[in-house]
């Protein structure tokens, strides 16, 4: 058993950008972060649903192929937009206060 290193936890907390960063100087980035966060949430939900359907054998190979292509394109587009707005995957996991992290 090990005791929790509080100092280490605080340092991690200080370096975590888990809130939307919107102010008058970076409103574009703040909005992009919000929009991309929502898209990422939806993408994960759709992907999870697709996984459950594959697991239950309720998708044909053709349907899996089509879904795969859609997710691949979405993935590429997301990476492109994240590059443009200098966002990382961690930036899309915003903190919802008492509800915890979004993802």
């Amino acid at each position: 058993m090990k005791d929790l290193d509080i100092k280490e936890e605080i340092e991690k907390l200080q370096t975590t950008k888990n809130r939307l960063e919107a102010n008058k100087d970076n409103v574009d980035k703040g909005l992009a972060q919000l929009v991309l966060t929502l898209i990422e949430l939806l993408r994960r939900l759709m992907e999870k649903q697709a996984m459950n359907r594959i697991e239950n054998n309720s998708l044909s190979e053709q349907e899996i192929e089509e879904l795969g292509l859609t997710f691949m394109k979405l993935d590429e587009k997301m990476k492109e937009l994240m590059d443009i707005f200098e966002l990382t995957e961690d930036d899309l996991n915003i903190n919802l206060g008492p509800l915890g992290d979004l993802m």
């Binding site: 100092k7 992907e47 879904l67 292509l69 997710f71 691949m72």
Partner: protein, 235 residues
């Protein structure tokens, strides 16, 4: 200079007037008495306190000191009100909730248990990635990650079971969070009687742990996870 009211906690005592230690920024601890309880605060010169280790420890030290002699409804770090009138307004508004929180946490403390694995689950699940050449193989790759992750979560639950089994008799309430992405795979908060703190640690100490994970126990904390003044969050 404008002074702001930095709040630490509400305690279920009225016979407190002075303290041996200071609060954040070494400010003097003050007491605002209201009906059956006291609000502990300091006057500080800033509207928002930065999250610095020193200040967090000072906040925590005040709570620890208060916990020794009373039940404590803790406030989050950097809870700041604007005036003494706000203190009264706060107590007026939340009086019933404060009293019901005291009922719920009487004589208790919060203990934390975290379980860490040596390797990030999602990294491990991605280890055997195959190159995606088309939609089908992309989805099959994702599906493999999905099933690996599911199996891992089951493993986590197997690891946690003996720990929970050993402490369940001591636990009044708990809040648990399983995490499939990351090194901290489990984060639990347990409300227990103050007198059971040592027994709680002992129960976890006595367990044999696997080499691939680590159990971290923290506390005693004021019962942060089990008090709320929010109408929507009942514990």
């Amino acid at each position: 200079m404008i002074e702001y009211y930095y709040i630490y906690a509400v305690i279920n005592k009225l016979d407190v007037n002075s303290f041996d230690i200071g609060g954040v920024k070494e400010a003097q601890l003050l007491v605002y008495k209201y009906k059956d309880y006291s609000l502990i605060y300091s006057l500080i010169d800033t509207r928002k306190l930065e999250t610095e280790y020193k200040y967090l420890m000072q906040h925590e030290e005040v709570l620890e000191m208060l916990m020794e002699k009373s039940d404590v409804i803790p406030f989050s770090f950097s809870t700041i009100l604007l005036s003494e009138a706000s203190l009264e307004k706060f107590c007026n508004k939340y009086n019933d909730k404060i009293l019901s929180n005291f009922e719920n946490i009487s004589g208790t403390v919060e203990m934390g248990v975290k379980i860490l694995i040596s390797k990030n689950i999602s990294d491990e699940c991605k280890e055997n990635d195959i190159e995606e050449s088309n939609g089908y193989s992309y989805m099959i790759k994702k599906f493999k990650e999905f099933t690996n992750k599911k199996n891992k979560i089951e493993e986590i639950k197997q690891k946690i079971y003996p720990i929970e089994n050993s402490i369940y008799k001591l636990v009044i309430k708990d809040k648990k969070k399983y995490n499939e992405n990351g090194k901290i795979i489990f984060n639990g908060a347990y409300l227990i009687e103050k007198e059971n703190m040592d027994l709680f640690r002992e129960c976890i100490n006595n367990l044999e742990h696997g080499e691939d994970f680590e159990v971290m126990v923290s506390g005693p904390w004021p019962p942060y996870s089990f008090v709320s003044l929010d109408e929507r969050r009942e514990y």
